[in-house]
């Protein structure tokens, strides 16, 4: 990576925007140096964003501090995503910023 570019985040999701998990929901996984994010969207419902702080170990759910149960839900969603995904189905979007 060139010196004047900074890695910002990596986002992993289905390459086919129409593809869903068997239950009809969608999961987007994302991470950077600070957070691990699992975004879950059920059709016709508001999406739920689980953000795990890798430094403090705390979890934020839709902007509010969560608990161990929320971490377990996040893990369950991540496992469900992996159990129903092949690498060929995924696309990685690397987000970088270029320092001026």
């Amino acid at each position: 990576m060139p010196e004047n570019e900074t890695y910002k985040a990596k986002i992993i999701q289905f390459s086919d925007d129409q593809k869903t998990l068997p239950d009809g929901s969608k999961v987007i996984y994302a991470e950077n140096d600070v957070k691990i994010v699992v975004y879950h969207k059920i059709p016709f419902e508001k999406g739920t964003s689980y953000a795990y702080d890798r430094k403090t170990g705390k979890i934020i759910v839709n902007g509010k501090e969560g608990n161990n149960d929320d971490k377990r839900k996040m893990l369950t969603l991540g496992s469900y995503f992996l159990d129903n995904t092949d690498e060929d189905d995924l696309v990685t979007i690397a987000v970088q910023s270029k320092e001026s």
């Binding site: 986002i11 987007i28 999406g47 964003s49 971490k71 690397a94 910023s97």
Partner: protein, 166 residues
């Protein structure tokens, strides 16, 4: 290193990259569909200066419909959660998810480990319950939740040795 826009339909392409650019980047930026996707992402094509690709992808990289995804509400929410606004994005690389499942599993283990760490702290309430059940609770007693939800109690061997001396 940068790219220079040239006139085209819809005012967003094709884009012609500098001579020093990756030829594949030049090809990608000349694709009208790709530049349309960039516009949806609120990314200025002129800020794109490099393209990284993973093995197995080169023949497909010119097909944005196979490798790019449009910005939608879900993706915008994820970016927002990560503290990234579109204004910060200067370069987007799209590629297949080789080894990404392994990466995600590693990260999920990171979260799982944090749960176990938190559960190690024994509360006063739990201490009282365990005492009522007749469990000897030493100062350095550790309590874990196992994967099936059961509680495992690990007493400090040192504590037992101290007690045996008395």
């Amino acid at each position: 290193m940068g790219v220079s826009p040239t006139s085209g339909s819809n005012g967003i392409g094709p884009i012609k990259a500098n001579q020093s650019s990756n030829p594949r980047l030049e090809k990608l930026l000349s694709n009208d569909m790709f530049t349309r996707v960039l516009k949806e992402l609120d990314i200025n094509p002129q800020t794109i200066s490099n393209l990284s690709e993973k093995p197995g992808l080169p023949n497909q990289i010119g097909l944005p419909e196979a490798t790019m995804v449009p910005m939608n509400t879900d993706l915008a929410n994820v970016l927002s959660t990560l503290g990234i606004s579109n204004a910060h994005m200067a370069l987007v690389i799209s590629q297949l998810g080789t080894d990404q499942i392994k990466t995600i599993k590693t990260r999920l283990k990171e979260i799982e480990d944090s749960i176990e760490e938190e559960d190690k702290e024994i509360s006063e309430e739990l201490t009282d319950v365990l005492k009522a059940l007749g469990f000897p609770i030493a100062k350095r007693t550790m309590v874990f939740n196992n994967k099936n939800g059961g509680i495992l109690i690990v007493r400090s061997a040192l504590e037992e040795i101290e007690e045996s001396i008395d």
